[in-house]
């Protein structure tokens, strides 16, 4: 049988590992006990005894008076106690997502996916889910600032207006430095601004750009654009260092397409095959059927070899192909067998590499099929070379003004520290940032913009695919939309961006449709739906081989250590560094939160006696080590997005900033370092590593099969189930559910481990952040954790992601041991948790074989020792009023989002109808970009969940214990070449 392991220690010596795990746990407990020695259990009991007596006696005093303040004029669409959903658009850090914003009693509290969008297709990412917390960030600016002091908009307008006019008159250059702008209306505003001030130059800048692709396409197609990748149409997907399931370009859309092409439920379903060439183990690589750990410098060599090999196979080439460092014969075969149905993508920012990728896609006939050039992705517009020009202009003082909007180059550009002084030195430096950041700290003026949930906007993430963003709360602080600021300075007396957007849509976009003749109805209709997709793409562009020859001949040399800098799934480019949800989200592969780390190859670590948490230096920068199975030999991977200095109370000083390691080569930023100097040290650094927490003690948890085996027998890999069912006897009567029987299914084949569900659950269920120290103490509160297992060769293992939440067992081991009946079983198959009854014995935690119960060791709300979002009035505004905020000393766990179940059931009952299948969606299910989770009523034989449970691939965790879980798992299917 395949051996599954979670860490290398466990693989090497399971028994010793187990012992050390227990020791660690005991140590952690002891440390906490010593720390808490100040107040012992006895003290607690004494205090408790006295306070009960006192409370009872003084009870004759009145309770504090609660006020109930109704509306003066109730808005028609608002019903107190019922949530409203507004369609909007998220666009931050080059990531677009069409969303629905849940607003309860005037407060946006949750982001959901919008199913009407054909871009994000109801999916979201962890970053999108966490964006609602950014609204309630203490680090936000409350007023405009002038050199750090609060000022008024009048003063700002007066000064900036005059200053701009003066610079314009003197013909001194002003640069409007923005992130990529996908809003057509905003582009119009900038145009208007530039017309008024011709000295203003607009420069889009991306922290992690796609300049390589843009430049390559400019050569191949004559236009700088990112094509539309259709992953769902591809039978063979080849990724070269592109983390397209994690952070690359439009990852939510790609996950949708990718997992749609891999869903095998019924006979006849087909599955794509995914090859991944990459350095570190990314989410994408962990899902690949065939994964090659390669050095970043080798990627182009392999691509070149592949190109020549394909040419040769097609008979149009006689030159010998250069040798590839890895065996790509199988890959070439597969690609040739699937011409027009394959897709090759590369995450490289090197123009030459991208040119070869273009050539391969052209050779395979993928253009027009899996890669569409008639529809472009607009989320990345930054051209790195332009920014370098800008820096040199700053240096020779030809730029007199800098207006920064949505960018933070002081932090995320390799020459950040230099930029800091340069920006501070110009005549007019201004930032529109809504919260503290490094660049804003260097600017003289701060004109804060509202959060996207407080703003009007529109977006065109892909050409011809429009969407709207609308405010869901009135502005919390004295902020003003940048568009209005620009219009004001351009001379408009009372700029109103809402009217501006509306006008643009009525005049320009309403022409693209003929459903609504009245522009106002068109506007209202689109605003309600959130998206407007007229559907007509431009014609496909013609490919030319321009620049290919040069690209093929320029082979890269490799020497010494190669360090890859990647965007982490949680923090991405680091702009949400002050978001505690994202900081605490364990990395999907390494399972480390609250730090970045150097992922080193297994063999090298062994040879040098390194362990996790040892410290090494890379070019003199100290970094803690994580031994990453699957890391290519001779390489190290480190995440960007950490090491913020001016982010706020949560983000400051977490991890190390790796942006200074980025270099600029051929006018494009290069996200890997060649020939790095790597030294070991004797130091150690503690990491919040949760990969081995909540262990299920080595039982067969993951079941897998190969696609070819599944085609022969869908039960393959799941033979154990039958074996277990033979022993399916119990002394207890079989549980009976008269009405509903809720159940959930997890398709392990679809789940890619993106961790969207963890944050979605956190937002929905008021799950508290506990900080690095407590995560180290194995107390992370997430109700849904994603276990990650490895198997086979540690040098290049296979990886499995398995979301585990409360299994809602019908024979639940936790229920029997509760001395106060705080966790009984419901009539609908839910394993209930009554917080108000729980006395905190933790027997249930110990008795749960799935380790899904979480104990509140401390009061995490309103506690200065846990100074995260729940320790401020503002941060607590994100709390869901439909879910109890748990206090110290009680156990909590996944409830299948019972508040949503009750809400929909109530609605059905009031309407006098049955609950429809799929109507109830727990938070994790609603926005899963991979559609890996299914929820429904097992008592309804026609429901989707019943079909999943009847599927041959379905099994339950630890079936042999006869706990009868209500959560089913579908075996992992890989499509390895047999």
């Amino acid at each position: 049988m395949t051996k599954y392991w979670r860490s290398l220690d466990e693989l090497n010596d399971p028994v010793a590992f187990k012992k050390s795990e227990i020791r660690l746990e005991v140590d952690a407990k002891r440390a906490v006990a010593q720390k808490a020695a100040g107040s012992s259990r006895r003290d607690f009991l004494k205090t408790f005894g006295f306070s009960v007596a006192a409370a009872a006696v003084v009870a004759s005093c009145k309770r504090p008076v609660d006020k109930a303040i109704p509306y003066l004029v109730k808005p028609e669409e608002v019903t107190p106690g019922v949530a409203n959903y507004y369609a909007s658009s998220y666009f931050e850090g080059n990531e677009y997502c069409s969303v629905l914003v849940k607003v309860r009693d005037g407060r946006p509290i949750k982001i959901e996916g919008n199913d009407l969008s054909s871009v994000s297709q109801r999916g979201t990412s962890a970053r999108v889910q966490a964006s609602v917390l950014n609204l309630y960030d203490d680090a936000r600016f409350k007023t405009p600032l002038k050199r750090g002091e609060a000022t008024t908009w009048e003063e700002v307008d007066d000064y900036i207006g005059k200053k701009l006019a003066q610079l314009n008159q003197d013909n001194k250059k002003v640069v409007l430095l923005t992130s990529s702008i996908i809003s057509p209306s905003t582009k119009k505003v900038i145009q208007q601004f530039q017309e008024r001030y011709p000295v203003v130059e607009w420069l889009p800048y991306d922290a992690v750009s796609a300049a390589g692709i843009l430049k390559a396409n400019e050569l191949s197609f004559g236009a700088a654009f990112i094509p539309d990748y259709r992953f769902e149409k591809a039978k063979v997907i080849v990724g070269f260092g592109a983390d397209f399931l994690g952070t690359w370009l439009s990852s939510v859309e790609y996950i949708k397409g990718y997992s749609a092409g891999r869903r095998v439920l019924e006979k006849g379903d087909v599955m794509n095959r995914h090859y991944q060439f990459e350095t570190g183990m990314t989410v994408t690589g962990s899902n690949a059927d065939v994964r090659f750990p390669v050095k970043p410098s080798e990627e182009k060599t392999i691509l070149t070899a592949l190109y020549y090999q394909l040419l040769q196979a097609k008979g149009s080439m006689t030159v010998m192909a250069p040798a590839s460092p890895v065996d790509i014969n199988g890959l070439a075969e597969d690609l040739l067998a699937n011409e027009g149905q394959s897709l090759v993508v590369s995450g490289s920012n090197d123009v030459h590499t991208q040119l070869i990728v273009n050539a391969i896609n052209q050779l395979l006939g993928n253009y027009g099929n899996t890669v569409l050039t008639g529809r472009t992705l607009n989320t990345h517009q930054g051209i790195d070379a332009d920014f370098e020009t800008f820096i040199s202009e700053l240096k020779n003082k030809t730029v007199a003004g800098v207006l920064c909007w949505g960018v933070n180059p002081v932090y995320n550009h390799p020459k950040g520290s230099e930029l800091k002084d340069l920006i501070a030195g110009v005549e007019l430096s201004l930032s529109f940032s809504d919260r503290k950041d490094e660049t804003t700290a260097a600017c003289h003026w701060v004109c804060p913009e509202p959060h996207y949930l407080e703003s009007w906007n529109d977006a065109e993430p892909k050409s011809g695919m429009f969407s709207l963003a609308q405010p869901t709360i009135s502005k919390l602080f004295d902020s003003r939309q940048v568009q209005e600021s620009l219009l004001k300075w351009a001379g408009e007396e009372t700029p109103n961006y809402y009217e501006f957007v509306k006008k643009h849509w009525s005049e320009e976009l309403s022409k693209l449709q003929n459903t609504n003749t009245d522009a106002r109805i068109f506007w209202n209709d689109t605003l309600q739906k959130g998206v407007f997709e007229p559907g007509n793409a431009s014609p496909e562009l013609t490919y030319s081989e321009a620049g290919l020859g040069e690209a093929l001949s320029a082979l890269s040399e490799s020497n010494g250590w190669e360090v890859v800098l990647y965007e982490s799934v949680g923090l991405k480019d680091g702009s949400s560094g002050n978001n505690p949800w994202l900081q605490e989200l364990p990395d999907p592969v390494a399972k480390i939160s609250w730090d970045n780390f150097a992922a080193v190859p297994v063999k090298w670590a062994e040879e040098n006696g390194l362990q996790n948490e040892s410290v090494i230096t890379i070019n003199g920068v100290e970094l803690p080590v994580f031994i990453q199975p699957g890391q290519a030999a001779g390489t190290i991977s480190v995440a960007l997005g950490y090491g913020r200095e001016v982010a706020g109370k949560v983000g400051d000083g977490v991890g190390t900033n790796m942006y200074p390691f980025v270099s600029v080569e051929n006018g494009a930023r290069k996200f890997w370092v060649a020939g790095a100097d790597v030294q070991t040290t004797a130091k150690t650094f503690e990491l919040a590593l949760s990969q081995t927490h909540h262990s299920m003690e080595g039982r067969p948890i993951v079941r897998e099969t190969n696609f070819s085996d599944w085609q022969i027998d869908p039960r393959s890999g799941n033979e154990l189930k039958e074996e277990h069912e033979k022993h399916d006897v119990s002394l207890y009567p079989a549980p009976e559910f008269k009405g509903h029987h809720w159940g959930m299914a997890v398709d392990l084949s679809s789940c890619i481990g993106c961790s969207n569900c963890a944050i979605s659950c956190q937002a929905e269920n008021n799950v508290q952040v506990i900080g690095k120290e407590e995560v180290r103490n194995r107390r992370i509160m997430h109700w849904i954790r994603i276990d990650r297992y490895f198997s086979n060769n540690p040098e290049n293992p296979e990886v499995y992601h398995q979301p585990v939440m409360c299994q809602h067992c019908d024979n639940a081991p936790c229920e029997n041991v509760c001395p106060v009946s705080a966790t009984p079983h419901s009539d609908e198959g839910l394993n209930q948790m009554a917080y108000n009854r729980c006395v905190g014995t933790k027997y249930c935690v110990n008795n749960c074989p799935y380790k899904v119960r979480r104990f509140n060791w401390f009061e995490y709300v309103k506690n200065d020792a846990f100074d995260f979002n729940s320790n401020s009035e503002l941060g607590r505004m994100v709390l869901n009023p439909d879910v109890t905020v748990r206090s110290r000393g009680v156990v909590e766990k996944c409830s299948f989002c019972v508040q949503r179940i009750q809400e929909k059931k109530t609605a059905a009952r009031v309407a006098g109808r049955k609950v429809e299948d799929g109507e109830i969606q727990p938070a994790c299910v609603q926005s899963c970009p991979a559609d890996a989770l299914v929820f429904g009523d097992l008592n309804d034989p026609n429901s989707k969940i019943s079909k999943y449970f009847k599927n041959e691939r379905n099994y339950h965790l630890l079936e042999e214990l006869h706990t009868l879980p209500s959560v089913g798992y579908l075996t992992k299917v890989r499509n390895k070449k047999s």
Binding site: P70, L72, G81, N836, D882, V910, G912
Partner: protein
């Protein structure tokens, strides 16, 4: 014999009793001392005092009309007083000049007020002092409600008693029959336990809670006398968790015309009108307060269960002052769920319960209660 014992007990514990009484009075004295007056606009304390005497009816000596305080009470009262309280008046006129105050007192508009202010004679100078007194009151705020120490005193007295009994039993042996201190000990201790238990059970519950509201809104007048349906104002009861407190503009549907009430005259309705005009919402005092870990839904009970509002809220149509009718304890909820029958055939939702339908048909059961369909599951209300 008995007298002797009591006397001895008193003698022995005299210092303790004295201390206790002294402590009690010192507490109450400090409370009164805290309420100092504020003199406004350079008017002397004397004038304010004089105004107070007029208000309270101590002046003028030969008065033929009712004193102000006889209608406009100074402290909160248990019984219903339709007239605006002194504090109400003070707040209303604090920002207005004397002329409008005078006009309002001497030339009342509205039938109710005309009737009660008839024969009202007071010199302008004196009325000015009344206004001063009221202004002073508005700044000072109402006198603090006296806390009741009865339970506390009783509890400590019982504690002393049982301590004495214990000391007597173990050390003093002054009483011949040991059974007497023993009985006293058991009695005192038992009473203390009873106090703790009853109060602990009541903790957080407030049956019959009927606080003063900012507007003297009478459900009796609106529901009982005028027969307005509950759902006319509490519009969301059928569809939302919350039944909803009506927005102030809803009141204006009728009160745009009806500006004077039979009991309260114009004063209370004017507050609602003012709220609509000034945009300052009315801050009602919440009566039904469930703990934060309880999620009750009106929609289930009213929208789907078709319960009568009265079943939980009691005879609202008879309540001038709204009060909490049930104790809203969990036992009260669960008892009702056990007995309440569900309209099983009339609602399409219950088609989910196939087995129960079969049982009903076959006659195995004759009805379905809320409990049978899981109304008493923990996670119905706690999540």
């Amino acid at each position: 014999m008995r007298k002797y014992f009591v006397g001895k007990m008193l003698r022995k514990n005299l210092p303790v009793f004295i201390f206790l009484f002294a402590a009690f009075f010192s507490i109450s004295n400090t409370i009164y001392a805290a309420a100092e007056s504020v003199v406004t606009d350079g008017h002397s304390q004397e004038e304010v005092k004089r105004g107070e005497r007029f208000f309270k009816g101590l002046l003028p000596a030969n008065r033929e009309f009712a004193s102000c305080v006889s209608c406009h009470n100074l402290n909160p009262v248990d019984t219903l007083n339709w007239n605006p309280s002194a504090m109400d008046l003070a707040l209303k006129f604090v920002d207005k000049d004397f002329a409008s105050f005078q006009a309002s007192v001497m030339n009342p508009t509205g039938a109710k007020m005309e009737a009660s202010h008839v024969n009202f004679k007071i010199a302008e100078e004196d009325l000015k002092t009344v206004k001063l007194y009221l202004d002073n009151l508005a700044h000072k705020g109402p006198a603090p409600a006296k806390p009741t120490y009865f339970n506390l005193i009783l509890f400590f007295a019982l504690g002393l008693l049982l301590t004495w009994a214990l000391v007597e039993l173990i050390f003093l042996h002054n009483i011949k029959w040991k059974v007497i201190p023993m009985l006293i000990f058991v009695g005192a201790f038992g009473w203390q336990v009873k106090m703790i238990v009853t109060d602990a059970i009541k903790l957080g519950r407030q049956e019959n809670y009927a606080p003063d509201q900012p507007v003297k809104f009478s459900h009796k007048v609106h529901v009982g006398d005028n027969g307005i349906d509950c759902m006319y104002c509490h519009t969301t009861a059928e569809n939302s968790k919350s039944a909803g407190i009506p927005a102030a503009n809803l009141c204006m549907n009728c009160h745009v015309l009806i500006r004077e009430g039979t009991h309260s005259g114009k004063f209370e309705i004017a507050k609602v009108v003012e709220a609509n005009e000034t945009g300052k919402p009315i801050e009602w005092v919440r009566i039904h307060n469930l703990p934060d870990h309880v999620f009750f839904s009106h929609a289930i009970h009213v929208g789907s269960g078709k319960l009568d509002c009265k079943q939980c809220h009691g005879p609202v149509e008879e309540m001038d002052i709204m009060r909490q009718n049930a104790d809203l304890s969990m036992g009260w909820c669960i008892d009702c769920h056990r007995d309440t029958k569900v309209d099983f055939e009339g609602n399409g939702y219950y088609e989910h319960f196939v087995k129960l339908h079969e049982d009903l048909k076959s006659g195995a059961i004759d009805s379905v209660t809320a409990n049978d369909i899981g109304a008493n599951d923990c996670m119905r209300c706690h999540y």
